[in-house]
Amino acid sequence: MALFRKEKNTQNQRPTIAIATSDAVQHAASTLLANIRFSSIDSPVQTIAFTSSVPNEGKTTIAFATAVAVGKSGQKCLVVEGDMRRRSLRALFNVKTRYGIHALITGRCSFQEAICSTGLPGVYFLDAEMGIPNPDNILASRQYRDLLGVLKKHFHYILIDTPPITAFPDAALTAAVTDGTILVVRENHTDKRDIGYSLEQLRNGNANVLGTVLNCQDVSSGGYGYSGHYYSYYSNYTTDDGSTPIAKHGGRRS
């Protein structure tokens, strides 16, 4: 009997390659990939946005693990850093690129200069530069849509990591220009109301939500673990150029 809710660790645990490439996670990722393929036989889904309601649900890890699974299956996959406010993929891939998505959109570099290989078979990476002004403007731009269209010709899958929906409009904007969106939900972490709000936002933005992914599924315990511990995310979730988040919706409403 868990009469009292346990306070969980409020630290944002950064994704690691070791976890994302572990057997259990890779097994889950290939199942997810198969389900994505099944979900869209008529109109193939090539660009997929990975998003979640609140921070720390595991978007990046799952996008990364799925990319690895695509690469393993012999197809080419591009991972795009769509969270321009707090980049995390570059640390995961452990690469440093000179150019990123902003330079590519504004025509300041070539595809070869912006997209880098990652050392993982079939997995390529397109980073976002530090301090991109108004990420939502870029994501909503025709240039971004065109860029994805061009990239689709070169890669089987383009997986885009996005910020949480309840914090910024970025995810909904990205979802609107991708073929499919996957909502990552972390067990014993995400509030039902936040999930409902996120789905509403995605649908309002005309996103094709393929389905959900349950992260951190703990088969052994059925305890209650929800707490308002993603507040900390907002406090250090300022944009690289120092501006504050535009949408404040979300968090634990009481």
């Binding site: 645990q13 994704p15 259990a24 996670v25 889950a28 995400t190 349950l214 599924q217 059925g222």
Partner: protein
Amino acid sequence: MTLLELLGLLRKHLVLVIALPLIAALIALGYSTFVLPRVYSAETSVYALNKTTGGSGDAESVPYQELQSSQLLANDFAELAKNTQVRRNVADDLGISSLSGYDVNVTSSTTTRVIKVRVTGPDPELAARIANQLAAEVGETAVRVMGIEAISVVTEAETPSSPSGPPRKLYTLAALLAGLFLAVAIIVVRDMLDTGIHSDTDLEEITGMAVLGRFPLAKGGKH
């Protein structure tokens, strides 16, 4: 919430479902045994002879109306037993200040004209004396005002040797059921207030969408 879900939920919190009724029952048992005062019941039964049929001796052909009237008679008896004048007379006769603390219960079976007067109170001897005195007083009044031929006592109330109450079994059972109800209520309300996601079925239910992937809880880390 379907019944199946409710059962599953109850099974998940089986400890509470079992422990709470048991604790409540134990408390009720202890309370009724050690805290509540013991009460004793003394019972006397009287027989009412109605004037219209009295003396006919035709027991085999008691008309239906009369059977019904025996029930009415019992009701009248009960009403008389509540009468303040009657009660004061009984108290005066027994030399006590009032009948407070003594519960009077008048019953009769529908098929007989035997009326039972049961007095329940803390003192066994006094309960018996009140029962007898009350039957006599009520009978006297009934003869006087209701036109009844006579009230004869069938059995005198005897001093009860063992207590009749408090009804420990009843209280314990009631507490058991109340505890069970409370446990179920707690579990259901808490489930309703719980806004977390605890399984893929939870997730499917809320979103109405397929769960495409299930990633395990990584060992040593949360991601």
